[in-house]
Amino acid sequence: MKPTLLIANAISKQFGGVKALTDVSLTIRKGEIYGLIGPNGAGKTTFFNVLTGLYHPNGGELLFEGYKLRASAPHLAAQSGIARTFQNIRLFSNMTALENVMVGRHVRTQAGVVGAVLRDPQTRREEADIHRRAEELLHYVGVADRANDLAKHLSYGDQRRLEIARALATEPKLLALDEPAAGMNASETAELRVLIEGIRNDGITVLLIEHDVKLVMGLCDRVAVLDYGVKICEDVPAVVQKNPKVIEAYLGGSVA
């Protein structure tokens, strides 16, 4: 069995009286593609936000590579190696595609004010590295030709890919993708699938929230299903698909 990367231990989160997550526990192993699915409002994105430090959980803890993650400290989550994308793309709209990815390098670089002003050899070298790495990543996700366009001028699919490039720039061990295929057509989704598999083959663990059940089942090694903030099932796709609770959750609520 592959070694463990992330353990979520009884995570709970409430908003006012609404229980968005109730004692959700799951384990993600190194090098796998882990799917998190569930009907709308099941708490998938809430889990993401707790994982990446945007929300403070009401209970439970996260262990990443054996170390406890500090709650509500997004930059520390990024530093320890968790990168994410957002369900409704959050790029730096008035920065170019290249600059967006360069910002992703922030957490792995050091230059401060003095370095910026003096531009000593070390800073120059670091800047050059940032630039080169950002260009490589743009190539990797396939938006290199739009490097100098403002992020807001990119097409929807390109924006999704750019967001992945920015997340990869932080050198994550765990890449969390929040509905990356949302709004994509069949061929774009197919490209995305290749991209995600490539990322995994480079040794990065992927956590995937997705509505596109076909994509999840085809891509993921293991899948957890949330319903009303509770984990109802966690297993390989073939087993999950046959789980009666899962079928009920999907068919009971709405005809998907």
């Binding site: 908003f15 994105t45 990446t52 945007l54 957002f86 959050r90």
Partner: protein, 305 residues
């Protein structure tokens, strides 16, 4: 003890005026997400128009004179409020966020100096046409004028609340403030709603202007600036965009300021004198915002991802 009661009364009067002005800021902010920086100047214009109207027709009996002066001030201010929105804000609705702030500052400068051109640089005394009788309560004095100010302010606030909660216009305003695009899809004419917001806010400003100049017996082309600032502070204190917040913030700020002015010397052992009154308001504001970043009863906006 009588100082305490006296300062509470003074604070309540001042606070009622702040609240009326703060409502203007908060309504515009609620609907457009914009600080109408020129709002304080609208109050000043209201004060000036009312004062000069009273001066010009001081022969009339007070019961006719004051309502007429008020009507004149309200009409002028409504016209100004309407024009400000049309000229300075509407064309910039989709512009970068700070552009309307700069036009607002520009309009504010224009109004101030128009007033200076028309009415000069001097302080103007409000003619003593209002018979003022003083009453004693709990060892403090309250004048009939002060009672009137508080009552009228309360009536205006109640009226506005009814308007917002119970009428078609109010419903449209609430819808627009929630989501302009959807409101438009539902058939709300947003342009009309925004104009109405400015006009209503300006009418309240005119009333406040008359109150200030009558209560402190003075008006000046520069008076709108600090008053506007304080009222805006009050709106933020309560939670900007929230009507009840503006009322609460206004009254609290008035009372805090009065108490501060009365007691700051004693509190600091004479180190800080009453000229620190203005600081007091800001310290309270900063204190509140540090613990409640969205104001006292403002909507808590959780960070959403």
């Amino acid at each position: 003890m009588d100082i305490f009661v006296q300062q509470i009364i003074n604070g309540l009067v001042l606070g009622s005026i702040y609240a009326l002005v703060a409502l203007g800021y908060t309504m515009v902010y609620g609907i457009m997400g914009l600080i109408n920086f020129a709002h304080g100047e609208v109050v000043m214009i209201g004060a000036m128009v009312a004062l000069f109207f009273v001066k010009a027709f001081s022969g009339l009996p007070v019961v006719i004179l004051l309502p007429l002066a008020l009507a004149a001030a309200v009409c002028v201010c409504m016209a100004i409020g309407f024009s400000i929105e049309r000229i300075a804000y509407r064309p910039l609705r989709h512009a970068p966020k700070l552009a309307p702030l700069i036009t607002a500052i520009g309009i504010s400068i224009i109004l101030q100096h128009l007033a200076m051109l028309i009415w000069g640089r001097n302080y103007h005394a409000f003619p003593p046409v209002i018979p003022v009788s003083a009453h004693e309560i709990f060892g403090a004095t309250i004048t009939s004028l002060q009672v009137f100010i508080v009552l009228i302010a309360a009536a205006m606030m109640a009226g506005l609340t009814l308007l917002i909660q119970r009428t078609r216009l109010g419903r449209a305003m609430r819808a627009t403030s929630q989501n302009p695009a959807i409101a438009q899809l539902m058939g709300v004419n947003i342009n009309q709603i925004i104009s109405a917001t400015f006009v209503i806010g300006s009418a309240l400003a005119a009333v406040a202007g008359l109150m200030v100049s009558a209560n402190y017996s003075i008006a000046h082309y520069y008076m709108g600036f600090m008053l506007g600032l304080k009222a805006f502070t009050a709106a933020v204190l309560g939670g900007i965009g929230n009507l009840a917040g503006a009322m609460l913030g206004g009254i609290l700020l008035g009372i805090i300021e009065s108490l501060g002015a009365g007691y700051i010397g004693d509190l600091t052992g004479g180190f800080l004198g009453s000229h620190y009154q203005d600081i007091f308001a800001f310290f309270v504001l900063i204190g509140v915002l540090i613990f409640r970043p969205s104001g006292l009863i403002g909507e808590r906006v959780a960070e959403r991802a």
